[in-house]
Symmetry: D3
């Protein structure tokens, strides 16, 4: 059985993330979505909220599980004997950062391989930061995030100082 | 009459910004310079100061008006029935960020088009952050910003903690 | 009246080119499509054929004319008093080549400005060379080129040695 | 069983290609190496020679087969029911070309997914054209190509006009 | 005698930095390593600690001196009559930032030239921020930093809140 | 004495090349300009003509010599005991090709180091191919090439078929 891990902050999960999960499930038997803690990065949603939102949004995807994590991704993968890290690639700037991370991870653990997938071009422009900025100014976010996420994002932002 | 909007933080306006305004005025009948609030980003000058400095520096440019704005640029443009967003493009890294923003804006409002202009190569290296860093260390900034901006930048930085 | 020129080889015109023409017509009063000769580059269609295919495909677009040209684009624009060159921008590699051409053109004629537009993300992947390669191997090209172009491309390739 | 295809010209196969094959075999159950004909591109070795050299060089790799192909890669994959195309990614320029090809292939056949792998950084600089140029001038190529390839490359180049 | 300066934050110095120092010493008679203060950037080690760690790590390199600095690098170089700034270049994103800095520095002082060197590909992935992140999670950092730096980094991070 | 080599096709030498030679001479004691044969690449000027044009154009530059070469640049450098290869860097696309060449050259000969210099931003757009294309269509080339080159380029192009 081939397993892979797809890690990120998912603050919140977008339709672009879900597209990538579906693509990864076409070629791996089981996909673990690893939700990073990122306490220091000023996330909008808590790690528990982010895990819960992905679980709901991806409920129809079989062979997928969602887990919180902190620490180094290679350690998370090694402990679970997951040999593949899946990453999305949209832009050259993505590419260079990803390249650097992948080389570093390979150095830290040579038995773990990183593979890159391309999201649908419909989601090229999407990232969670832009979606939050649009929500902050009352823009329409419904096409960008799963149906369960949109109302929570609006609610969370209304409460933010 | 063809109108366009050129938005930014302009903290402070540089000679590169003025070069782009002049180029945009060659092809549009009226240009609105939209000065973003960016309260959260730790700007050096207040929005009012930034608007005032551009008004002075661009006083000789006809068919140009300067306005403060907050919120989403596409909303600002739509309310004023401005169908074109003008952006400067100097670097590959600019390009990718701009591309992402332009696709997102197109998704938010399909009747607004983004066009990219190239500043004079004399200003390729110029950006407001570098100019502020140089001013902070007492470097000569007179060739980088308009004559009305240089003394204010020096004064503002002298007062900064 | 604001005029612009959109130049290329168009061997053959694709749906991506037509998308850009429509975007340019939103902001300019008149658009001239300039079809380069490129005798040396081993084009598949003659310049006359390429001009004719664009005229048919863009017949419904008002305020657009199609003309053959050879020589330097800045000379073509200057003779017709067209002050703006329109270019499509999709990739970083596009960007750098375009940047170099635009700087060179500005050097050759300072009164002509280059503006860059972004095609729909649906056409990001499209270019005439790929379409010809797909046609060569009998792949389906109907979603990539206008309806009048697809049969001619198949016919032309069938005849090619 | 998860299958993947790794296509290229392989004129000739390098150690960088072999590194990628090994990485792909870690995550797919079977890998088909598809050797493109490229008659028009002026290859040094015939398609038969290129296939034979890979078969020898990769003889120790189980679960790998080598096949000649012409036509569109997506057709090749579809006929063999291979759902994944594997590509190596080293540079930004690779990335953009690969991105364009992958989007085009996805458009031609939505059930085929492209994944990108990173070769060892030891092989970042390696490509078959550079190796041929070095061989042409009598440079040492033994660290760049498999042991069975080096003498054939020297011999082939000695005979070339 | 040809002198050059190699500036950075070095928080902490890595094996990649040392590789570049050795390469620079091959072509310049004397190399000054200038350690930036960066009080505002939240460095882990104080400027004195960073200077001391480089001095120890590079003790075997002749013709090299290490100095703290604050202010503009061009002023530092000009005061010491050092006509060359040495920079490492690994990635496209490095390249654009470096390009912009180098053009700005040239504008500030035309007699100072910037040269770019390439680190060994073994160190392509290395940067001080990644090393600190790995150390924070207890990962093995010994291959990334000089022997005198690894224990201090572990100790410093253990004490950090 | 520190020596360096600056290699290229120089078909023909441009003002951008001369700018780089002057910058290299600021930091090396002696610069050898190596003019590649490139018989296969369809150059406009013969190797002898290209060498002669550089010698004239750079006659006022002391400590510079111009030599024809064929073969591998690292062999040329090694035979003359020149430890440094100088390259110009203007664009990201330059950067990646140069990076690949430099890594390959380092692999071929570890005692030779490549350094990258940046031309004046005035010459960013300049390359010999564009200059030839402009000359072909009768455009003004005098600002792009040295005074001795412009008439020869016009004459050579007038004679070309």
């Amino acid at each position: 059985m081939k397993r892979a891990v797809f890690a990120g902050t998912f603050d919140p999960v977008t339709n672009g993330h879900l597209d990538l999960m579906q693509r990864a499930l076409r070629m791996f038997d089981r996909l673990t979505v690893a939700v990073a803690q990122r306490a220091e990065k000023g996330v909008l949603f808590s790690q528990e909220e982010r895990v819960a939102m992905i679980r709901e949004a991806a409920a129809s995807l079989e062979r997928l599980d969602v887990e919180p994590f902190s620490g180094l991704l290679v350690d998370f993968a090694r402990e679970r004997k997951i040999p593949v890290i899946v990453r999305g690639l949209r832009f050259v700037s993505d590419f260079e950062y990803e390249f650097q991370m992948a080389l570093m991870n390979r150095r830290l653990s040579d038995e773990i391989e990183t593979v890159f997938l391309m999201p649908s071009e419909t989601y090229t422009y999407l990232n969670a930061s832009l979606v939050k900025e649009i929500a902050r100014y009352g823009g329409a976010i419904d096409g960008f995030v799963p149906p369960n996420v949109a109302p929570r994002l609006r609610e969370k932002i209304a409460k933010a100082p």
